[in-house]
């Protein structure tokens, strides 16, 4: 039986930038063993020599001519912004904080 401790879940939540309450961490940790056991079945088959498929279509890189096409105006691009200033997205402090 796989398991993931409350602290493991807390670490993953930190990596995924999701603040979680204590009860969420405990709940998720209790559900994870069962979920991991189920998905770990992918390791039951002999997969040696099998190639990985990341995508259902055999595509090469898709390029287009480098020409300017119509795009959103600054006002449109900013229309959903939680905060803006001087036609730019205003974001919280990203440097110099005490973490």
């Amino acid at each position: 039986m796989s398991s993931l401790s409350r602290d493991d879940v807390a670490k993953l939540a930190g990596l995924a930038r999701i603040e979680m309450t204590e009860s969420e961490l405990v709940e998720l940790s209790s559900q994870f063993g069962m979920i991991l056991d189920a998905v770990a079945r992918v390791q039951e088959m002999d997969l040696s020599g099998v190639k990985a498929t990341s995508h259902p279509q055999p595509l090469e890189n898709i390029a287009r001519p480098d020409v300017v096409l119509p795009s959103l105006s600054p006002d449109e691009a900013l229309s959903g912004a939680p905060a803006q200033e001087e036609s730019r997205f205003r974001v919280p402090q990203i440097l110099g904080e005490a973490e």
């Binding site: 993931l4 979920i35 939680p82 997205f89």
Partner: protein
């Protein structure tokens, strides 16, 4: 008028027997009468819909050549961006967002003169099989309001089943069109991966996501499919090839001489008795119509569910990183001195629901160093084996078939605290997504034990979508003549019917 098929509505419009405004208003009235019970819609855009309807009526009067379904109203899954209309993907993190652009599907619908009446409810970011994971409350199955309509496109399926719209758009990452179609007694198609542009489709799992049509008949579904599909330079994975002739296939509907493969692994144990019984009867019907039924073996399908619940969460953990509280959507905790990282974490906690968090954490784990090869890497190899199993099976059969879902619609709340039980409902639909091929669900009758609809799934190779419609139309016609009336006539009346 709302009881007509979309094809009949289109015909009445072409003959000037009705107008799009009249047709749209009739559906808006129906929505007003029953959606309080069904809760299929998150947002009804009455004004916008009537304006589109007036426009298409004017274009028709002026003699403009219009698409086959111009003027017919439609319900749009809230996962597709529509300019100026609230678009949430069922998530609180996007509450109030109005996209500044149209998704390609919406542009195509508008160009075709299809009237978009509103946005339908869904599991948050399409993660779920019951619509209970919506941040805005569940949708209720029109067949039994204590049950789920399936999901994640449960709102779209319920809207069509409840005659709130003749057509709807959904999206299908692991069965999210076919399974709700099965549970609500309608037709739903997941087109070949790359057949319908994903531009403006809010991403869950990019290598699996595909938008597709719902209708009450195979022909209606084909008419919408033809309008939605086609190459789009804005989506690099969009297939640059002509749209398969789905409408003519739906009109011809002949299976004589076709080989139909029954997948050994997708029936029997774990399938509800009435589901298996309707499936077996449909096979007999197809045989009586001149199809040859063969059994095919797809041993790796046993691992499809496990592979899916690694690949989809892995991709979602990356895709959903864009919800960072910086450019659009919710922002919380932005107090003086708070760091960007703290604001991001607080916002994602407040904006994401339980299932979304569960899948992001699972994906983060599956992709983390030390576990990558064992989980995500192995899942990608299983994906290769599934593609190989399909290739072999399609060497023996023109289409493959199975029940769409192992059970009929279950009670609201029944599986919400048991994620694995919920995931098992996708066991028959997931292989199609992993292989990037196409699939249809159409009604096969009612299970005798609960009088709820059962779905029959048809699968075809990539870009052979017309085969789904050919077989589907043939089975539909034969079952209709057995039943004497469409399956939805057996659904209980909703208030105002």
């Amino acid at each position: 008028m709302i009881q007509l098929t979309a094809a009949q509505m289109a015909d009445a419009l072409a003959k000037d027997e009705t107008t799009s405004v009249e047709l749209t208003q009739a559906h808006l009235d129906r929505i007003a009468a029953v959606d309080g019970q069904v809760k299929a819609f998150l947002h009804v855009d009455s004004e916008g819909a009537l304006a589109q309807a007036r426009d298409v009526d004017t274009r028709r009067k002026s003699g403009e050549k219009l698409s086959a379904i111009a003027g017919v109203p439609l319900a749009l899954k809230d996962v597709l961006a529509q300019k100026g209309v609230p678009t949430t993907a069922g998530s609180k993190i996007l509450q109030g967002w109005r996209p500044p652009y149209d998704s390609t599907v919406v542009s195509k619908l508008k160009d075709a003169g299809v009237v978009i009446m509103g946005k339908t409810n869904m599991d948050e970011f399409a993660m779920g099989s019951s619509t209970e994971n919506s941040g805005y409350g569940p949708t209720f199955n029109p067949w039994d309001l204590t049950r789920t309509p399936g999901g994640s496109s449960g709102g779209s399926a319920a809207a069509v089943s409840a005659f709130e719209a003749p057509l709807a758009v959904g999206s299908d990452t692991g069965g999210s069109i076919r399974q709700p179609a099965a549970l609500t007694g309608i037709v739903g198609v997941r087109p070949t991966y790359g057949a319908v542009s994903r531009f403006g489709l809010i991403a869950y799992s990019s290598s699996l996501d595909q938008a597709g049509p719902f209708g009450r008949t195979v022909l209606d579904t084909a008419l919408l499919h033809e309008v939605m599909a086609g190459h789009d330079p804005k989506d690099a994975t969009s297939i640059n090839a002509p749209v398969p002739a789905v409408v003519s296939a739906a009109k011809s509907g002949d299976v004589k001489g076709m080989k139909i493969g029954v997948i050994k692994q997708l029936q029997g144990e774990g399938y509800q008795k009435g589901v298996q019984a309707r499936f077996d009867e449909s096979l007999k019907v197809l045989a009586s119509l001149g199809a040859e039924i063969v059994e095919v073996d797809c041993p790796s399908f046993e691992y499809a569910l496990a592979a899916y619940y690694l690949i989809a969460p892995s991709e979602c953990s990356s895709n959903l990183a864009r919800f960072d509280a910086m450019r659009y959507g919710l922002r919380t905790g932005d107090v003086e001195g708070a760091s960007a990282e703290a604001v991001m974490s607080a916002t994602r906690d407040a904006g994401f629901g339980r299932e979304v968090k569960r899948r992001i954490i699972l994906g983060t784990y599956a992709l983390s160093s030390g576990y990558y090869d064992a989980y995500y890497g192995s899942a990608q190899k299983i994906r290769t084996l599934i593609i190989q199993d399909y290739a072999k099976a399609f060497g023996k059969a023109d289409v493959l078939v199975s029940p769409t879902a192992p059970t009929t619609a279950y009670k609201i709340g029944e599986k919400v605290d048991d994620p694995m039980a919920m995931y098992l409902g996708d066991v028959a639909t997931i292989p199609v997504n992993l292989a990037g091929i196409c699939g249809m669900s159409l009604p096969a009758g009612l299970a005798e034990e609960d009088n709820l609809p059962v779905g029959f799934q048809i699968m075809a190779p990539a870009m052979q979508d017309q085969r789904l419609y050919q077989v589907g139309a043939s089975l539909e016609a034969a079952l209709l003549s057995q039943w004497g009336a469409p399956i939805l006539s057996k659904a209980p009346a909703l208030g105002g019917k």
